[in-house]
Symmetry: C2
Subunit: 252 residues, 2 copies
DNA sequence: TAGTGGTCTAGACCACCCA
DNA sequence: GGGTGGTCTAGACCACTAG
């Protein structure tokens, strides 16, 4: 193979290799629970060790394999981390777990933002923004109250959607917006009057709250959302490793 | 610099660079919000571009900077992801946020595990294990009920501790155990009779539950724990990026 | 001591963004 | 078109583990 044959293509080699290895692991190859050495993998796939290591770093970060100097890599499991998109979109998450997602828009406002709202979106105080309030359902049962803020340029895309549009993420992605990073914060709160009405529960009932902020590759905030789930409907799973930790616990 | 001057040392160069950049960012250098190019950083620090990229990958994974082909890296913030150890240890977490941690052991059992318990620890059904039940406090106020399972070899280390030992992690680390990976699962439950007694709340009160499984570099499970926090005492924050996602949402 | 993963280098080409 | 980050190579030495 010639030097510099960087046939990056749409999908780089290291991602393909990572996907292949994942599949191989899931299908039960490597019964001994250990991966071939990096050198071996490189030879088998006709690539350099550096590329193999990129693939393995991906698996490592997702908790599929461990790594320790001196010994072969150990297989931990298939580690079902979701696609990034499923983490953002209630709709595609629901479909991925075999449920039928639904949504009903209860409020769609185009107005100047409150100070805290503008702050969340990194906008000047008083900037115009979009606010959307929706009830989300699984198999027609309400499970989540969703409040989302969009900067003007983003929310405008959603203005034409009907009140029963299922996904609000899909139109945004179709529009060419690129969601690169997410910051999640998870805690427990009690339902206010509005939550109670939306989810048909007594005021004060406990809810699992997930607040999210999404940014594009240049750091511009694309949306901020506050999702409140009924107990028992979801749980959040996180993998963290000593090498790369991207989770924290805050004083409530 | 000679080829192969891999002065890996205790702390590799790329980690030092990452730490330096973090500090520089926090201290307000780079007022324009953009990082110098990789080439520039490499020249400034006398290292190769590959090493610089390792450092930047770390910052990227923690949400400190973004990256996009064609444009300089954009600074997102100081992104306060905690040290891996603080995520594992209630004690060191509490101290890091300026609280006074405490603990009182309510049960310390050495017994054969239930089938589900052995499964969590990857042990044969019926294996001996240690079970510890503790009330954890912040500034002497109970905020969390902690139930932990240890395989025999690990739990044995804790047998000599008194009922008011504050940290159970420190002795384990001192013993030479290496915690490499954590799997967290976060959801909402209601207090059972035992929780109610420990936390002095009515039975059925909502609690934020974090279940954790820690493994060493070879994949051996070192402990499993079930922590139940009072509402308002903690929140969990996770960063995920399109490149490396290690979080998922499950149907409750 | 042989073999593994961890770190590092010096070079290359490519895809992309912006002036 | 010039500069940026993304991908890839082929080599090197080191630190560690295990037989």
């Amino acid at each position: 193979m010639a030097v510099g044959d960087a046939s990056a293509a749409a999908r780089p080699q290291y991602r393909k290799l990572a996907a292949n290895l994942r599949e191989a692991i899931a299908s039960g190859a490597y019964q001994d629970g250990r991966l071939p050495s990096e050198e071996t993998l490189a030879a088998q796939h006709g690539m350099s060790r550096g590329t193999v290591r990129q693939a393995l770093a991906l698996l490592r970060a997702n908790g599929v394999v461990t790594s320790r100097r001196g010994t072969p890599r150990v297989i931990l499991g298939t580690a079902r981390t979701q696609s990034f998109y499923e983490l953002m979109s209630f709709t595609s998450w629901a479909r991925a777990v075999g449920e039928e997602p639904g949504g009903h828009t209860l409020a769609f406002e185009h107005r100047p933002g409150e100070p805290w709202e503008c702050a969340q979106l990194d906008l000047e105080p008083g900037s115009m923004l979009y606010f959307v309030l929706r009830a989300r359902t699984l198999s027609r049962v309400p499970v989540m109250a969703e409040r989302t803020l969009y900067p003007e340029a983003v929310g405008r895309v959603l203005a034409d959607l009907g009140p029963d549009a299922i996904s609000h993420m899909d139109p945004l992605v179709d529009e060419g917006l690129i969601f690169a990073d997410l910051e999640h914060s998870i805690d427990l709160i009690s339902a206010n009057a509005e939550d109670a009405r939306i989810l048909d529960i007594p005021q004060g009932s406990p809810l699992l709250r997930e607040r999210r902020r999404a940014t594009d590759p240049s750091g511009v905030v694309l949306h901020w959302s506050d999702d409140r789930f009924l107990p028992g409907t979801v749980s959040f799973t996180v993998h963290s490793s000593a090498a790369v930790t991207s989770m924290s616990r805050r004083r409530g």
